[in-house]
């Protein structure tokens, strides 16, 4: 047997899991449920949002959360695929980590262009 490079995605997975466990419920509530309830409409208006996301610190934090979320999800979905009986692990890894890379890059581009 030989030492594996799985440490890298695992750290991203673990860090992501930790961050998400604190922030995810409230984020989903704020951006996904509150608007439907008519809450926080001011905060989610185009103007406030642009101003808010325009802040570099906010960009950085959002980027961090989104990157970790992508990699957390990608890694865990890789395990899921295995657990559901899909044994083409390398292919699964390439696809999922590829998607995570796309997600990370898109988030970066979007944030920079705001």
């Amino acid at each position: 047997m030989a030492r594996s490079a799985k440490a890298v995605p695992w750290f991203l997975f673990a860090a992501g899991g930790t961050v998400l466990s604190f922030i995810l419920p409230v984020m989903i509530f704020t951006t996904g449920i509150a608007p439907a309830l008519g809450l926080f409409t001011d905060a989610l208006s185009y103007d406030t949002m642009s101003a808010f996301v325009g802040n570099w610190l906010v960009k950085l934090v959002l980027f961090g959360i989104l990157t970790l979320a992508c990699w957390h999800a990608a890694h865990r979905l890789r395990v899921c695929a295995h657990d559901f009986g899909i044994r083409a692990d390398t292919a699964v890894a390439v696809i999922l980590y590829g998607l995570a890379t796309v997600g990370t890059a898109t988030a970066a581009l979007a944030l920079v262009s705001i």
Binding site: M1, A2, R3, S4, A5, K6, A7, V8, W10, F11, A14, V79, H82, D83
Partner: protein, 247 residues
Amino acid sequence: MSERTIELEVLRYRPEQDQEPFFQTYKVPCEEEWVVLDALNYVKEEMDRTLSYRWSCHMFVCGSCGMMIDGEPKLACKAFLKDYPTGKIRVEPLSNFPIERDLVVVLDDFVEKLESVKPYIIPKEERTVEQGEYLQTPAQLKAFKQYTLCINCLCCYAVCPQYGLDESFVGPAALALAHRYNMDSRDLGRAARDDVVAAAEGIWHCSFVGACSQVCPKDVDPAGAIQQAKFAHGIDYLTSFLPGGKR
């Protein structure tokens, strides 16, 4: 004497006769205080000499008598009849292992794995007897003590789906044992164990199902040990790329 009749449904498999396992039911007159192992011993002595199973200590320390009792991996000497009020108990050999015969499973794979993790002190420098003991404070002892308590009963392997699905996985008890030595203040062998422990088949194969720790009769918490090991070996891996890191 308070007696009670238990219906013991035992999975039988005699390789020389049977194509596949089948259940055989024994009606066993039992004492209230008995454990499942006592009931099996009764069957063996009074009803059916052909039933085979392993046991020795009868005090949950030798690890011989792990078996599936009503679907849960348990020590037969620690499974008290009073906890089975229906009076019907189903006994099967440990899951995830090939059945050698009746309740006896083939352990070769586990034994190889245990040996593979280098479960012995790899000291920085050998110490002679004249130099006396390594000093080790109670706090340093505490850091690994829990992981020394494993009796190799294999209940954890029987419930770990990752091992069941893919037996190349080194598995909970062997990895917890590696962690035990890695955490010992006398040991410096983590790098030497890296090859097996930090392989894809090692700690990284564990998806933290956590079932192993739920069934462990000795509270070893292999699941915790493995996650801690992921962290430690993971840091080793990352730092090995730093200037001066050992690869």
